[in-house]
Symmetry: C2
Subunit: 594 residues, 2 copies
């Protein structure tokens, strides 16, 4: 659009394109939402999942008489005498979890030592070499002891301690929340959707998270402090977004070597080498940006955890949301505006009063930045992703020097879950860029299409066949993504509105209905479809099931690993391998009162 | 504050006052909310109200096999075999309702005629004069007939027709919504809060409105059209608010006779008469404003009804909300800004470039307008309210010329329900004025206090002892009022922020946290307390009841009057007098399938 003169009739074509873009987006999103709801329905109604039978009750008031579990039992037994089974009160599990982790690492150490001992039995030395270690700091100082014997002894000690601690925790460390277990999915769904106490900060019910994704430490946060914490964290994230603006502005100001030359004249001599020039021109500034952004997701994940979110999938969504807004404000708006302002300022100082015509000329050139940005992402990013080069190197180093037992090798090879909280916002940023430049500078589009076409093949393959998911939220990421896509659309519509005005196109007011239409579309979709993602609709779970899970299996699922009796959990470990490394379930816990 | 010079240290006092005002408002509102929730809890848990046993199911999809009632029965009977009793499918009742109204008026006519006949039996004429009327247009033309005989005949005919029509309606005019009746309050509350279908536009459940306040015509509106209708009506109300701005601006521009003199010089001769001058000065412009506003509530009520709201109490709240924003934008902002601008413009044309200092000088004078406005409201408004002069005059006219039977006299005397939809926004406007001028021009405060002190005595008396409520929403107006009071507070805080800046007070940025604090306070209150007003918390209705209402009585309550068998409803009329005139329940209806 940079080539179109002001107020020409050709601008009409762009106006029509803007409408076309919006309408096609609405239609596609509408159909996708419906499709995903259908898939989700099938998944939810067919399988009896433990979380469908379990209601998380948070913020219980102090019991007036009797224990916590009596309090919960009394209420639900009266309400649903047939359907209610029992409750598991959540406990503070700091100490048990610590002991459990220690015990677990000792067991690993023992196995490792046994493997080392086994491998040392060569033909020459059939008796082998018993591994030894020093008992002092980091195994560097202190008396040397036989590792196998020493470990066995310690394990014995710790097992006794852990059992005592488990009993103490169950009895004394009960917190103000519980899992209520029902034998009827429909009743559990109804209870989880109902307000129980008149003041909403008490007896808050919700569907329990999947057993594997519970954030134990957050289950018993008081309601009001959590609310204020949330505000505090939103404010902090807001500050982070604003504060990071400054370095990114610098990076984007240095985008083109032309700028660098103007600012740092001695660079000219380097730039004269043609090959280096090309490479620097294309990749240097964007690479800095990408590395810079890689530091962020963990921080945002940590902040989201402080918000008091109880399930890991929700945590991932909250992080993805924050990261998306960071990306849009800092990468997209930051580059567009400060790149523009930087280019423009130079000329304005010479000829002030021509701001409008300058903006007009310097918005489209930023498109080239984003084209190289996208290209870099899909050449380097997808390349790394597909080859899994870094994990491969780490694996081989580990295998060579650290791993002795089969279990250790398997752990080293394990790819972990798919990182939705970084992949989704990154893709959504490309959507934003594509939506904003689709009409103004359509050259971005082929690159965006290539990005998503390759992504469809590569990332889909990785997500389905490489990474191992710990839990299955049933497509709950979709409403989140839909909201972000619509946010991108609104941004693009407002950008176009501004840009059409700069072009002094008299009919640019015709673009006004577009952002409003998008907001209404988002509202309608939310009203119609989102409920089914937020809660479990009754009609899905009122069908009869062939095999109901036993109450014992539900209790087991919602008991944290560090509170499971030791013999039981060792059995479990042998049989269910898919059940993750279980260390994620040890920072707080649960107790089932008799 | 108009007397304080710029950037003086005395402004600090006003800043502290602004914080004081906000904090006191928060504390009072918080305590009130808690208090009202307590009262509501007691009311809801103690009495078994029919709406607690009844769930309104809207937007049923077309039944795949069988009838509508079979469809609803099948679902709920499976879900709650013990608690579910039966369902009443809502029907289109245009024709039955018409017949019923006709029959009712004929019966009244008959009674009237009999009374006239009875009174005509004086000592002189023991046989009396049988009343007669003409059958043609408005009783003016056509053949003369005996009214009593003629009415009796017609009633006989109509009764037969009505019975046939009732049967036909029940069988053929079923719509896509139903009342599901349960024998357990807790289960009904759970079902009413649960999402049933995956797509929220189907099988929408909510607690049934009280029988007396159902808006029958709106029960079966399709979901999406209703949503769009709502947007359309919001837009329309927005236009009305903007459009009415113009006449109100004129009215307020004419506020002071000084202005009138300047504009219409010949008025000077009238103004010279001292008494007239005083009266005109004080009351003329405000009176115009008040009369002008009296036209509006009915229109807003009509528009709210078009939104598809199903209960009358909700209708009243929706109207009150619209009316409040109308009041704030047009009366409060309109008068403040355009009065100011009008006064200011004159001087600016002479000395341009002094806008800031002029604004500074002309904001406080508007306080005097609002002082007289409030005074007028409580002298004239409360006087009329307390004496009920207009209804008294109308009653005596009716009694003298129209009423013959006791029933007719009672109807003429009936004060009807309290008009919350006009009283609440009017009071909220005074709250807004008081909050905004409390710090800037505290002279408004004594008048506002007097207004509410008198209101406490007078309006409370009227509401409790004069007006007859048709239904009892259980304090659901409070969250609405709280929201409006907080809106008033935000407006006042922003006004102060602007005014402090005009005063060039360097620490005016200290006021920034106030509006944000108000928004957070509103959010927290909403989260904590509003749920208990929106839905019925389970803990309230899980207590055992001494006397449960019978299913038959519930069915009767949720059957519209025009579908009740004729003999039954005549009995009912004799016994329950409080049950309103029943005409409100005749625009659509319900059918109970066997």
């Amino acid at each position: 659009m940079g080539n179109i003169a002001k107020n020409k009739s050709r601008i009409w074509a762009f106006l029509i394109a803007a409408y076309w873009l919006s309408i096609v987006t609405y239609i596609v999103l509408w159909q996708k939402y419906k499709h995903i709801i259908n898939v989700r329905d099938q998944v939810l109604s067919a399988n009896a999942r433990p979380e469908q039978f379990t209601v998380l009750v948070q913020n219980l008031p102090p019991p007036t008489n009797g224990t916590r579990s009596e309090q919960v039992d009394a209420f639900f037994r009266k309400l649903h005498p047939d359907a209610y089974e029992k409750c598991l009160v959540v406990t503070k599990l700091h100490k048990s979890s610590k002991l459990w982790t220690k015990l677990d690492s000792l067991k690993r150490k023992l196995k490792h030592a046994e493997a080392v001992f086994g491998q040392s039995k060569t033909k020459d030395k059939p008796e082998g070499i018993r591994p030894q270690h020093k008992t002092g700091f980091l195994g560097l100082v202190g008396a040397k002891v036989d590792t196998i014997d020493n470990s066995k002894e310690k394990i014995k000690d710790l097992s006794v301690k852990l059992q005592a601690e488990q009993k103490r925790t169950i009895a004394e460390e009960q917190e103000a929340s519980a899992f209520a277990i029902f034998n009827n999915r429909a009743v559990a769904a109804e209870v989880s959707q109902s307000a129980i106490a008149t003041i909403a900060s008490k007896w808050r019910t919700s569907q329990a998270p999947e057993p594997e994704e519970i954030v134990w430490g957050n289950l018993s946060m008081p309601y009001l402090p959590q609310l204020f914490r949330k505000f505090g964290i939103y404010f902090l994230v807001f500050l982070i977004i604003i504060f990071y603006m400054i370095p990114i502005s610098f990076v984007s100001a240095l985008t083109s070597l032309d700028n660098l030359e103007k600012l740092v004249p001695f660079i000219k001599s380097i730039v004269k080498i043609k090959v280096l020039n090309t490479v620097l021109q294309a990749y240097l500034p964007q690479l800095a940006l990408i590395i810079f952004l890689a530091l962020l997701p963990s921080l945002l994940m940590f902040l989201s955890k402080l918000e008091g979110i109880v399930s890991h999938s929700h945590l991932v969504r909250a992080t993805a949301g924050k990261y998306f807004y960071f990306n849009v404000v800092n990468v997209f708006l930051g580059v567009t505006i400060s790149g523009t302002v930087f280019n423009a300022l130079k000329k304005i100082t010479k000829q002030p009063g021509q701001i409008v015509s300058l903006l007009d000329a310097s918005l489209p050139p930023q498109a080239s930045f984003f084209i190289t940005y996208i290209a870099l992402l899909f050449f380097v990013g997808y390349g790394l992703e597909l080859s899994r080069l870094v994990p491969l190197i780490i694996f081989h180093i580990k295998k060579r020097f650290l791993c002795k037992t089969e279990e250790e090798i398997r752990d080293a090879w394990a790819p972990g879950p798919f990182n939705y909280h970084t992949h989704v916002p990154a893709d959504m940023l490309i959507v934003t860029i594509a939506a904003c430049y689709a009409v103004l500078a359509p050259m971005v589009l082929p690159f965006a299409i290539m990005y998503f076409a390759l992504g469809w093949i590569i990332v889909r393959n990785q997500a389905l066949k490489v990474y191992i998911p710990k839990y299955d939220s049933g497509g709950r990421m979709w409403p989140h993504m839909q909201a972000r896509i619509l946010a991108a659309l609104v941004i693009s519509q407002i950008t176009m509105l501004g840009y059409f005005s700069v072009k002094k196109f008299v009919f640019s007011f015709l673009l006004f209905p577009l952002p409003i239409a998008t907001l209404i579309f988002a509202y309608v979709c939310n009203k119609l479809f989102y409920t089914a993602f937020r809660v479990t609709p009754i009609s899905l779970v009122s069908t009869d099931l062939k095999d109901m899970p036993s109450v014992a299996s539900l209790v087991e699922a919602y008991t944290p690993t560090c509170l499971t009796p030791e013999d039981k959990f060792e059995d479990a470990e042998k049989f269910e391998d898919a059940r993750s490394t279980a260390t994620s379930r040890t920072s707080s816990g649960i107790t089932s009162p008799a």
